[in-house]
């Protein structure tokens, strides 16, 4: 138990630090790399929740495909990092503070009623009841969640067509 808490704290700190680094970096490429760091830390956090399949898929899809796409786009667009940032409307940045406050308040209200000792224990060993393992996802996906699954395929098709149409019109 102690080791688990220590690992959780380490990965949580790494995730938060990388996320903060995204904001602090000037160059978008370093920001993207920090995002990859955040995703790796998140994958480790999923692992501490016993969701091994989700952790691995997080890296395969998110850190391995989506971030590659991001990095390709950053390299294609090639925004020079020392261009001065021109603020079109000066006052907008101060609007961020109340919105951030709203977000924090919302999180507080959502998370507050949860009492930590009433959550089901994670280490219950029954593989079929576990969330996030391959077997449970495999069976759940094709029984309870069949419709969202099939709709996902249509969604992916839409994304393919959309991306190709948008990109080709400019590049043709």
């Amino acid at each position: 138990m102690q080791a688990e808490k220590i690992l959780f704290i380490i990965f949580a700190v790494v995730a938060l630090a990388s996320a903060l680094n995204i904001l602090l970096q000037r160059s978008p490429l370093y920001g993207a790399l920090s995002l990859i760091g955040t995703l790796l830390a998140l994958s480790a956090l999923y692992m501490t929740l016993r969701a091994q399949f989700i952790a691995a898929v997080q890296i395969v899809v998110y850190a391995g495909a989506i971030m590659v796409l991001f990095i390709f786009v950053i390299m294609l667009l090639n925004v020079p990092k020392d261009q001065p940032q021109i603020e079109k409307q000066k006052g907008l940045r101060y609007l961020a503070i109340p919105f951030a406050g709203l977000l924090i308040a919302e999180m507080f209200f959502v998370l507050r009623p949860i009492r930590l000792n009433t959550l089901p224990p994670i280490s219950s060993g029954n593989a079929e009841q576990a969330v996030g393992t391959t077997w449970s996802i495999g069976t759940a996906l094709f029984t309870d969640y069949l419709l969202p699954f099939e709709v996902t395929s249509v969604l992916i098709l839409m994304a393919v067509v959309g991306a190709m149409v948008l990109a080709r019109r400019e590049g043709d």
Binding site: T134, L146, V160
Partner: protein, 128 residues
């Protein structure tokens, strides 16, 4: 057993240490005598013309996009494949056999349509 994943952290640390040792070793052991020619970007012996930071072709974006979408398909296929044989060959799910198979076939057909679209649009062509 999740604790079997701790060696991943272990080897990550050890491998990073190895890489760091290699880098530091080369900094220490190699004499650094920079000259102007050595520090220029290599362009087959002539003076470099223009910068490397120009805009690249949009084809790379399209390939990455297509890769992303088919990778998501592959990720959906994995739990199905793991569960498939167990479901198909067990007696408990006998009535679900063909349904299970058919569900994924529908999924794959839809994505195959996507592949055909990308193919016909010529995205997979010219000098990719």
């Amino acid at each position: 057993m999740v604790r079997n994943y701790i060696p991943v952290l272990l080897i990550l640390i050890i491998a990073t240490g190895m890489a760091a040792v290699i880098i530091i070793l080369s900094r220490l052991a190699a004499k650094s005598r920079p000259t102007r020619e050595k520090l220029m970007p290599y362009e087959c012996g002539v003076e470099p013309v223009g910068t490397a930071r120009e805009r690249q072709s949009v084809k790379f974006y399209l390939v990455a996009m297509a890769f992303l979408l088919f990778d998501i398909e592959a990720v959906f296929l994995v739990p199905w494949a793991v569960v498939f044989r167990g479901v198909v060959q067990s007696e408990a799910y006998r009535h679900l056999k063909y349904v299970f198979y058919g569900e994924m076939m529908v999924f794959m057909v839809v994505l195959f349509v996507g592949l055909v679209y990308v193919w016909r649009k010529g995205i997979l062509e010219w000098n990719r």
